[in-house]
Symmetry: D2
Subunit: 297 residues, 4 copies
């Protein structure tokens, strides 16, 4: 995602304004004054402190500068994104959630919501898209349209906090990195054999409305886990998911009789993620005739 090379916090603490702006100047959408204000606060003890100094500059700005800043954000899924007049970060963030590939109908729906939002609040709808599924963004849109102006102003700033925290974490490395990533993991235990179920095909689906889109396809290792987290090294997008485990195949390989067709074949676990920076462990304990799951840790 980063277009600039990663800089160390130590280097950033030593650099002049020009170097500082080259490194982190586009963190806040078309608002170089934010990084300029932050530059004056050096040195920073942690990357988190750097980001907080930037946010403090936004919060300390006069209302009209804040509003102008909010105005500078692109319409979500809007014409600007199609035409390219936004920062590279915004573009790749919007692509991550599929907002660059909306159907005409979806494009129209987002457009309508965006218009209603701007009519009510005077600035475009801002959301940290990397913390959401497409479904969840739509839900946020509808909820936030019901806010009053002051609640929504605070919400918009909070989203900018999430967006820019991710950007800072992608640009700067060093002490006290902010917690921006979550992790989704699983584990399959065969309670018939009393050991991890190895070689089980696992699929992860993300729901958009009633449609489930497969986003991961993997196989359990000797410990019944997956070699990589199902989702990791990024925020977990808020939304609805389904894990599907090919347990019928697993027990068939073990030559276990469990009916024809077997009582359990594909075992689905459906759950939602609400904490993008959290750890969701969603294991499956399974015999040919029973299974259970839970939010683990």
């Amino acid at each position: 995602m980063t277009v600039t090379p990663l800089m160390t916090l130590a280097d950033l603490n030593r650099t002049d304004l020009a170097g500082f702006e080259a490194a982190v100047g586009d963190t806040f959408e078309l608002a170089p004054w934010v990084s300029a204000a932050a530059h004056a606060e050096r040195p920073f003890a942690s990357v988190t402190a750097l980001h907080e100094a930037m946010m403090a500059a936004v919060r300390a700005a006069p209302r009209d500068a804040q509003l102008a800043f909010l105005h500078n954000h692109p319409d979500l899924a809007g014409k600007a994104a199609r035409a390219g007049a936004i920062t590279a970060e915004s573009l790749s963030e919007q692509a991550s959630v599929g907002l660059d590939s909306l159907s005409d109908e979806e494009f129209a729906r987002f457009h309508r919501l965006n218009d209603a939002y701007k009519a009510k609040f005077g600035f475009p709808f801002i959301v940290c898209v990397r913390r959401h599924t497409r479904d969840s963004i739509l839900r946020q849109f509808e909820r936030r349209l019901r806010h009053d102006a002051s609640a929504e102003f605070a919400t918009a700033l909070q989203e900018i906090f999430y967006i820019t925290r991710l950007r800072v974490a992608a640009k700067v490395t060093g002490e006290g990195m902010p917690k921006v990533n979550g992790r989704l993991s699983t584990h399959v235990l065969d309670t018939h054999a009393g050991r991890p179920a190895a070689g089980v095909a696992v699929e992860l689906f993300e729901y958009a409305g009633e449609q489930a889109h497969r986003i991961v396809r993997t196989v359990t290792n000797a410990d019944g886990r997956t070699d990589q987290p199902l989702i990791g090294d990024r925020p977990l997008p808020i939304g609805r998911y389904e894990l599907r485990f090919a347990m019928g195949d697993h027990f068939r390989r073990r030559d276990i009789e469990a009916g024809d067709p077997p009582f359990l074949d594909i075992v689905p676990l459906r759950f939602s993620i609400a904490e993008p920076e959290g750890h969701y462990h969603v294991p499956l304990l399974c015999s040919p005739w029973s299974y259970s799951t839970y939010r683990g840790s």
Copy 2:
């Protein structure tokens, strides 16, 4: 399903051949000789014994009479069914599984399989459709096409046994009824509250390929059960199913915080039925953060 009024076994044991044939003569497809042979064996100690006497007549018949009898069965989803030249029983049985409403493509597929089957075995594919979902019939078709002639002859007779056992059970009442029905039930326990979950919306879906068709929609009662079995008073069609429980709504009504969106919303339990005359109890034990199921009794 029955078009003739239900007769008691006692009355049937007393009736003359004409009455006997009026009552049960169309049990075996266009084969009145079967009931004639059975009539000679009266009286029957049980309805099961009556049915077994009929099957014994089929088994004792010369091979060419057996083959002629098999030939008299309609093509499954075939032209005959469309044209009406089959018994009323056959017609309603085929309707029960949706074979009367196939798409053109499905109709063509069944037709192709049927032709291949007849070319190989010389008689139409016979299956007790009330013991199967549409999916399962297709699976049987493909499996049985791989049989040799003698294995398939035995399988066809076994299916006739199932078909006619159901017909006899629908026509005659009395001692020793054959076991022809199964039962699918559920139970929802709220392990957060330690009591049955009442008022939970429950849906039962039947799978046809990757498509899930809703076949039952109900709500749990005060004991966490459904007032009626999900499927009862009939054979359980062999096939794949999914139960879906609106647990998110349930815990929301109890004002329990479980994330936004809640970790569990719709909980799906996917399982297969392999024993049409069996009892499948598929309960859900559920807290806002965990659930389990098992084949119970």
Copy 3:
């Protein structure tokens, strides 16, 4: 437990005062005036109404009559019980909880508590022993000693309500029987085989302090249940219990390898009962490598 023959509510509604007193006169400890007052209220629509009329007479009595009535109750585990100067009902109720077989040390402890109680409240400690284990009675004693006089007076009357409700239910039969009994049941499912576990030895222990006393020994039937409830046809004594299931033997009979010694052998489920008139279903779902339980219904 009853020494008088069971009378129907209809007969009781018709009988004169002498017959009424012969039937239910000893329901309230040495207080025939209670049944005399109730006799005037006939006829009763339900057995529950009869009992409530009796309780109403107690509640309507002058304070000194109430206190005299409370005084007429025997000391729990006291000298009276040893000497026999109490009603037959009191005697058999105290025996039911083992209060007739206390060790010298336990006898001294109960005696001390009883003296402290009488010194504070002026009447003996009254508790419906059939609703408690020995442990629970001791716990009640210690709790109630901390009550103020008015709270304890109400508690003592409530216990008399429980005691006499049981007595009425044992003496009179008819419409509207009060709910006085609970039920403890279990069910063993073998989640390795997907069916009920038959022939499993089950033991029920009641805890007294750290000691577990076996009170039931039985075996599961073909449905994985016990032919009789573990406790039934009586109030469930409030207290701590442990069920022990010989699952190691069960899986050994099925020739399942699960380690030597097997991972699971005797499976204990420890739980408490708090509602004497409730239904506690405490099932065991068990494979050789996992098990679960829950309060079911």
Copy 4:
């Protein structure tokens, strides 16, 4: 346990016979010829290879040398141990399982078994005590008494293999250490709250006959685990265990109503260990009304 300082494999590979014997000469009970033979096989690529070379020397010895070697082992819990005429290793190993603190009755029982064993096989009963509980040693004794001479000779050598593998692992460090230790761990998840249960008192008991002896007392940390494994850095003694979790206190701290007394208070999980070098993970998933466990990984 070690009385000599730990030596590296590299140093051992370089040392002369005197140094070698000083380091590992008492690995095999009073049999310096074993280490002498092994010394000739240097250098060893791994600690495991060193131990295997020693065992190869035992296996290659003439039968009468093997028997003399077996004879040199002390009686388990025998007079020798009381009088001190055995190696320091033997002494501390026997203490680890409580064999140094037998009651007179137990001492007599072990003595009787030992005499019967020596009468049948001609050498003392040898068992790797660190891989067993006292219960399990007794069970081994009774089983092995039923062996024939050749099966028992092989078993005795296998036990010496276990004993000396542990000694080598305690004396020498370096590449390819043999796997001699197991691990017993737990994890408590509160399925009512959907997070690890922190601060839960956990006790581990070891069974000797019907008596449970507490061997560990700890508290879960913020992740619902224990800071140290329940048993670690040593072989897991084969035997029966019970974990007890103070879940009633946990839910009481969370102000959850679950009856009085609460349905679940102390939750016991009873299980056996059969693989001393294995990992046993025995978690508890628990709401106030349900719990489950399994052998995890």
